[in-house]
Symmetry: C2
Subunit: 236 residues, 2 copies
């Protein structure tokens, strides 16, 4: 088998791997957007669909694992190529978990919606959550775009943006707790919203994790001691 | 090469892989315990040591990756054996990140300690953090013990215990925010403690992630839809 053929076969394999990761990322972004839509309307049927669709993300992760293992076993890639295959395998595991957080949000929709029966009491702070979800979802897309483009600087920007999402979470947490205190009848619903916010915060943390893997795959070194600009930066 | 020899070589490889994961886990537990000790005394020199020691965890992760790739390429393991090698690779990535959280806690020690100068003002809620740290650290050890023992039921128990850690975090968060309001001079120190608590909460989340990987490696199926007993269970 001529070397040229092997190289082409590897390129085709890695292209397929990238395609699957990108597809997983798209599904995870959709899951986040739809879970938030289901929450805002509220639309329990849409929420049920988000939960069912999560199986597709799990299935692609399993495929990524199978293909990555096959590439390692058959093509014996070296250096940057091997780093990329291993990164794909690890990134798929993280994106699968991001999908789980979207599913967890969807699971809370019926509880939040049902408790609204009769009382017609609208929980105002719910309006803060879609912006936080967009921020988290953007981080996921940017981290996976950085992987597709092998762009370590784009990966670094994702890591840096995590501090802003953390601040957003802390602010929403305080707003929701204050709202609970002032509207004790809504406590159980607002508690669900607290978990929604926490799931979004964790999605951002996992996007950061992906970005760090992308940086390492592209450069062979860890992102500057994972300082994220040092702890001073995220206390504002 | 007789089959028997290949099987023995694989067993030796996988034994080495397990040993490295267990060693990483031990270092991560030490890092958590020492970071909390450095915070409680406070002891900035110990904190600096925790930060420096994190490199050892990173180095073992890189070794795990190399060995896992070599096992896949040379031994072409199948089914449960392959699942275990891939799980080791993914678990090492998560434990490496757990080490990062301990390092992040250590980084905050000087800021919290320095602000104490002169005023001799002790932040009482700091006394809640060691218990939370022990809970998080226990989850890490139990998840890695479950991996070593291929014990899916032990893995499930780790996942279930995450809800208690989340509750602990929420309670500490509220306590710290209340303390800030009542002691405005301590705001910057208490803000650092909030991030310490969040890092511990994330360590528990990552231990849960490891436990889910252990469950899958041992059984070939995902843990019951990752329900964790359903969202009702973690709202109490």
């Amino acid at each position: 088998m001529p070397l040229d053929h092997t190289v082409k076969a590897f390129d085709a394999d890695i292209g397929q791997l990238r395609g699957m990761i990108s597809q997983m990322g798209g599904l995870a972004e959709d899951a986040i957007a739809q879970a938030m839509q289901a929450l805002a309307r509220p639309d329990p049927a849409l929420a049920a669909r988000v939960r069912a669709d999560d199986k597709a993300i799990d299935a692609i992760e399993a495929e990524v694992e199978r293909l990555a293992v096959r590439i390692i076993a058959l093509r014996a890639p070296m250096a940057v190529d091997l780093r990329e295959v291993v990164a794909a395998l690890k990134i798929a595991a993280v994106v699968e978990r991001i999908g789980d957080y979207a599913k967890n949000i969807a699971k809370r929709v019926p509880m939040i919606a049902n408790a609204n029966d009769g009382s017609d009491h609208r929980i105002e702070p719910i309006s803060l959550l879609p912006s936080m979800a967009r921020m988290a979802s953007d981080m996921v897309r940017q981290a996976l775009d950085a992987f597709a483009a092998r762009d370590p600087e784009a990966a670094r920007r994702v890591v840096e943006s995590d501090a802003a999402l953390d601040d957003f979470y802390d602010s929403i947490f305080r707003t929701l707790v204050t709202y609970m205190v002032e509207n004790p009848r809504t406590i159980s619903q607002v508690a669900h919203l607290l978990f929604v916010a926490k799931n979004l915060e964790r999605i951002g943390d996992h996007a950061t994790n992906v970005a760090e893997m992308v940086y390492f795959a592209a450069t062979g070194t860890q992102m500057a001691d994972r300082d994220r600009g040092g702890p001073d930066k995220d206390i504002r």
